[in-house]
């Protein structure tokens, strides 16, 4: 009888503890992995910030195969995690099916729009942030040539390139923007050697500032730009500290804020479509001690002016992904 009682007691405790876990949020990283010094790591930092501030716990998983996307979503939703946040546009297809099966669970997807009543879609206005660093590049360059190095050749990265070119040409309309993509496969995100080679080639073609939107490949770009004595611009996280003095600035994309906000709202997550742009701190230009000497007053003023005009709508930066064309290159 007492044995039975302790069993029941244990079962009850188990039920209680699993009940306590019910409201915990969960985060799913994309195939790149948690510590990629870029997109996923930014998401991780947001979750960690939430955990540190609230003392809460969350569950996360790093995928190894595409079939695991739906599996992980379903397992988290089944086990009562709410909200379930996923970093990356590749989750769209899986989320569409899973969201319909779990109407009481809230989901948040970053970098993609999924139209379902229980899904929050967070996208970033990368073209606006890129426009600003394009303006900065135009002021930093003495001549009229700057360049861009993308990771994998896909519309999202062209969106960065196109915003950058527009910003540059708003200052130097007759200038040249050299655009190179590292590759066509996901390996292009992690090829610092090739990033360095492209940087050297672009410098030979006259480029004075190179903007890298290329994940791990960008680390090679930043390094080579320093070796070759030209300026570089970082991306996603603030990368100014990586090569202090030669990184002009970084186009930051606050994925961490998106994750942090979703976790903060918990199961009361506000669903729908949300754009994180210049006006709400979703993208921006990184300023710190490492690049203070590179940013002239003229440049800072021009950046503030452009930023205000984009927010007010006076300047409309063309979004490459709206029609897959770019007016500036």
């Amino acid at each position: 009888m007492t044995l039975m009682k302790s069993f029941l007691g244990a079962a009850a405790t188990l039920a209680l503890t699993s009940g306590a876990a019910l409201a915990d949020p969960a985060l799913i990283f994309d195939l790149g992995g948690k510590f990629d010094k870029s997109f996923n790591e930014s998401a991780y930092n947001g979750a960690e910030r939430w955990a540190a501030e609230t003392g809460g716990t969350y569950r996360d998983v790093e995928l190894t195969s595409d079939a695991q996307r739906e599996q992980a979503l379903r397992r988290f939703a089944e086990s009562g995690y709410n909200p379930v946040v996923m970093a990356g546009f590749n989750f769209a297809t899986a989320l569409e099916t899973v969201a319909a099966d779990f109407p009481d669970t809230k989901f948040a997807i970053i970098d993609m729009v999924v139209d379902a009543p229980n899904v929050k879609s967070v996208v970033f206005s990368e073209h606006e942030g890129s426009y600003l660093v394009g303006v900065a590049a135009a002021y930093a360059a003495e001549g009229d040539t700057v360049s861009f190095i993308g990771g994998m050749d896909m519309p999202l990265i062209s969106k960065f390139a196109c915003g950058y070119a527009q910003g540059f040409k708003s200052v130097k309309p007759d200038g040249t923007v050299i655009v190179n993509m590292t590759g066509t496969t996901p390996a292009a995100w992690n090829d610092p050697i090739k990033g360095g080679e492209l940087t050297r080639a672009q410098k030979a073609a006259g480029s004075e500032v190179v903007f890298a939107a290329a994940g791990g490949t960008g680390l090679g770009v930043l390094q080579t730009a320093k070796d070759e004595g030209i300026l570089a611009i970082g991306v996603d996280s603030n990368q100014n500290y990586l090569q202090p003095g030669t990184v002009l600035t970084s186009m930051v994309k606050r994925v961490d804020n998106a994750v942090y906000d979703a976790f903060m709202q918990g199961d009361a997550l506000e669903t729908g479509f949300s754009v994180m742009g210049l006006s709400n701190g979703g993208v921006g230009v990184a300023m710190d001690d490492n690049n203070a000497s590179l940013m002239t007053d003229e440049m800072t003023a021009a950046l503030a002016d452009a930023e205000a005009k984009i927010i007010s709508g006076e300047i409309v930066v063309h979004d490459y992904m709206s029609d897959e064309t770019c007016p500036s290159y």
């Binding site: 896909m154 496969t185 996901p186 390996a187």
Partner: protein, 365 residues
């Protein structure tokens, strides 16, 4: 004279090797401060404890049966096909092109067509290294390996420039029509009153993989071509002397190997993703090498080894999900299994052989 009875060679050695690999893995799990017993429970429960988990395990198993058989066919002719990954990728292109070509009325018509598409593309990709080996003597290990990179770049190019849905960011083709939807285990078992998870990816391709295993056995041990392949593998000069054309056998063995790799695409591309994604094989072409090695190039061994690796992939995902054991460590466990069952084979074999010899001597005395 064989030192060991057949059963010891086929069962005892892999079993001991596995045990050693798992003991070492357990120590590694302990070293990062987790409980290895709980880890094993999580893996077994996750891989076999529910029909959903079982469905994932069998889905991965299906992949590995196809690639394992493919590597084994080539290996019977002593050709080391490292290019399974690329051949699976191209097979995926073939399957996708067939599935997207017309609005298929029923899967039973779409499946054979897709199988032909996958097999032809996979075989065509294997043909080039095979030709270079047979005619020019370019080493097949090098060429097939290089062809993986070419395949990856080529498929990426096709996806971005031709197959991608305009305006979409993901490098993936459009979804296949409903008529190309393969029945999964849930659909297949429902008529028999067996409840199987509707959301797991195991599908009818599993049965085709088993059929392929039977076909492999018939081909290698019951046909003239199989005999030629085995003789060529055993000794090229003897085979030539016996009138076997080395060019023909090299190319045919590689074509069959490539076709089997290409067939895998009916499972991952047609059965699971229902669209062509970038890097669809996800390493199955390489795991196939380990599966063939561990399965001793015999279909029964390959099916069992594929099941083991399916268990490791699915159980490993569960470890990552519920035990927060990083995926890198899960890979280490898989690596240890490959190391012990493949590369360190003799470490177990030598002492065992000595043991059996000693036993026999004792008996004779």
């Amino acid at each position: 004279m064989q030192a060991m009875p057949k059963w010891a060679d086929a069962i005892l050695i892999p079993f001991i090797s596995l045990l050693l690999a798992f003991i070492l893995s357990g120590l590694m799990i302990m070293a990062i401060g987790k409980d290895p017993v709980v880890a094993v429970q999580t893996m077994v429960q996750g891989a076999f404890g529910s029909t959903n988990g079982l469905g994932y395990t069998l889905y991965y198993t299906t992949n590995f049966i196809f690639t394992g058989l493919a590597i084994a066919v080539a290996y019977q002719a002593r050709l080391f096909n490292i290019g399974g990954e690329g051949q699976v990728m191209l097979g995926g292109v073939g399957v996708a092109l067939v599935c997207l070509a017309i609005d298929w009325p029923h899967w039973a018509i779409a499946l054979p067509a897709a199988m032909i598409g996958g097999a032809v593309f996979g075989a065509a990709w294997a043909f080039i290294p095979a030709y270079l080996q047979a005619k020019r003597g370019s080493h097949i290990v090098i060429t097939t390996m290089m062809f993986n990179f070419i395949a990856s770049a080529f498929v990426g190019y096709l996806l971005i420039n031709f197959l991608k849905v305009p305006g979409s960011m993901s490098t993936e083709s459009a979804g296949f029509p409903d008529g190309a939807h393969l029945p999964n285990f849930h659909d297949m078992l429902a008529p028999f009153g067996i409840e199987f998870s509707a959301n797991s990816p195991a599908n009818i391709a599993f049965l085709i993989a088993l059929l392929a295993a039977v076909g492999f056995w018939v081909l290698i041990w019951k046909t003239r071509l199989g005999f030629e392949i085995r003789s060529f593998g055993a000794s090229e000069t003897a085979a030539k002397y016996a009138g076997i054309n080395p060019v023909r056998i090299t190319i045919i063995a590689m074509l069959i190997s490539g076709a089997l790799c290409g067939l895998m695409a009916i499972n991952n591309v047609m059965g699971e993703a229902e669209r062509l994604i970038d890097n669809a094989p996800e390493g199955a072409g390489f795991i196939g090498i380990a599966v063939a090695l561990m399965g001793r190039n015999h279909p029964i061994g390959i099916v069992l080894a594929a099941l083991l690796f399916g268990f490791l992939v699915q159980g490993g995902a569960e470890l990552n999900l519920w035990e927060s054991i990083p995926r890198e460590l899960v890979m280490v466990i898989q690596g240890l299994v490959i190391l012990f069952t493949g590369a360190l084979d003799n470490m177990v074999r030598r002492p065992l052989e000595k043991l059996f010899l000693a036993l026999r001597k004792a008996k004779e005395a």
